[in-house]
Assembly symmetry: C2
Homo-oligomer: 333 residues x 2
């Protein structure tokens, strides 16, 4: 049995840089035709020049036909000229991190609804950017996303023509807001629809499943899974795959992020098949993104075959999601 | 400034065995006159013979005058004769683990309200044992204690003369039940009254603060702290200090448990002083235990002095609670 998916996109991806970039990019580019690439590197991608150079390094590292949509890191130093230049050079994603919310958010925005940030967002709206947000406050870890909802709502109302993406939505209490505003959309990760906090610390502690936003309750994961299985129009797939070396995970002060890139489409196919929803998979991983982000679909088709995939326990010193498990679908080589 | 505490007790303690026992016992016996010692060793302390031998090893390792109240591990194999023998030999604590609830609970009870277990508890009630319970189900990690409440209630009703200890109470929703039944009591740990889940995974991942029951919300910790500061009659102090070597913590499949033994009384003094409650400290760490467990107070007094204590980052290859912090009280040497 074969399954062909035309032009799948991963709308939220961390590729890092240098050796790690070269190690991981092909796990994604072998499965996806394009991906929104996050800018929280060290140093962060805060200018058009840095973004374009980074894009070149990604393209040079990929063995497959692949479009990296590099996001520009939204800092308070961003101005109209730089945004215009970004637009002229084909960049269309802006990423907003609240300062301190996650890995590499040190350069993020301290006060989101400040005059300076609102000014930048007004320019972004007029130029047709898409705004991608890590929506969490600094409150209690399980309520951070919920507490952020009023900020999302305020931005949605203030900039009705600005498309705003609620990244890695993890809390079922957020869904209603996304549905209520025409200009709000969201991405869903594989791990937030299949795992809960129990998988991090319900048994022994699993640092490889520690991520931000933190995995939530079993009820949250079930609700998100259903959104995906139904390929809800306002949600596209964004893995938030984030490679961290074992030494940065199995330690004190472990880094947040789950490395899911090697197994994404095989696992999605398995899960959608199990729930009799295979017919919705292409909508979830391709068509929704095409519409929400105004993308051209590639003619490239990814073929999966019904053949056991044994997930390695480790890829390039990184422990992946579902390490050591078997899945029922594989990529056709 | 000095503070004298007569006969403090730690009513929930893990001392392990062999080299680790010898390494850690004096952190406790220098600060406490007695402690309830948990039996979840490998092999577990499931017989009177094992309990008495363990007690001897503890006494031989301690440099201070110290009474270890060794708990007997409640398994379905325990019978009337063994319980009578335990009683005759001065053992009075029974510890019940639901199978799989925490470290070393593999030998625990599968079905708590089964005929066999109820039979053992009836004998225990008649012989005047105190039953100590790790009260968690196998449900969602943050609701496990809450879900266990009906079992506590059922036991409290079925055995009205059996004193039952709700160990390391961590969820504020449990307090009302303890107050409602004359034969229900609880222990409180230092970490559950000072830390929340944010301290484990709100920032980077801290495996040394991973424990069972898992740390809860800021509201839970505040509520528990207030119970302690008021030295609520039904609660005694039980640290649940649990030493795990760094190699078992900073790894995949990390062990649950927080090692707090080296800093308990200094930190308690600091916290009680900060909240103008120093006059309640002796009640919380000594008198309440004396009453609840029918203990004789020792004449030994522990003296704390108002002098900075710099907590080491590591003790015998174990990272302690508040590693590297300073506290305002020290033990008098």
């Amino acid at each position: 049995m074969k399954l062909e998916i035309q032009s799948p996109f991963d709308m939220h991806l961390h590729l890092r840089d240098g050796e790690i970039l070269r190690d991981v990019v092909n796990y994604t580019s072998s499965q996806f035709c394009g991906a929104v690439v996050m800018p929280n590197l060290n140093p962060p991608i805060t200018s058009v020049k840095l973004a374009l150079e980074y894009k070149t390094r990604i393209l040079n590292s990929s063995k497959y036909d692949f479009s990296p949509f590099v996001s520009l890191y939204l800092t308070e130093e961003l101005d109209k000229e730089e945004l215009q230049k970004a637009k002229d050079n084909g960049l269309f994603m802006l990423k907003l991190y609240p300062k301190g919310a996650t890995t590499g958010s040190e350069n993020g925005v301290k006060e989101i609804l400040s005059d300076k940030v609102l000014e930048i967002l007004e320019v972004a709206e007029n130029l047709g950017f898409i705004l991608s947000i890590h929506g969490e406050t600094n409150g209690f870890v399980l309520d951070r996303e919920f507490e952020f909802l009023p900020i999302f709502e305020s931005l949605a109302k203030t900039f009705p023509k600005l498309k705003i993406i609620f990244e890695h939505l993890s809390d079922r209490r957020s869904i209603e807001l996304v549905e209520r505003y025409d200009n709000l959309y969201a991405t869903l990760t594989l791990h937030h629809m299949l795992l809960s906090l129990d998988d991090v610390l319900g048994g022994m502690l699993n640092p490889h499943y520690f991520c931000k936003p933190i995995l939530k309750t079993p009820k949250d994961k079930e609700t998100l899974l259903n959104i995906a299985l139904n390929a809800h129009d306002k949600f596209s797939f964004g893995s938030d795959s984030a490679p961290h070396l074992i030494s940065k995970k199995e330690c004190n002060n472990g880094a947040a992020g789950i490395f899911s890139a090697p197994i994404l489409l095989p696992k999605l196919a398995e899960v959608f098949e199990k729930h009799d929803s295979l017919e919705n998979l292409e909508k979830f991983v391709s068509l929704n993104a095409t519409k929400i982000y105004n993308l051209n679909r590639s003619n490239r088709k990814i073929t999966l075959i019904k053949q056991e995939l044994k997930v390695s326990k480790i890829y390039n010193d990184i422990v992946p999601l579902f390490a050591g498990d078997s899945m029922s679908w594989s990529l056709e080589q």
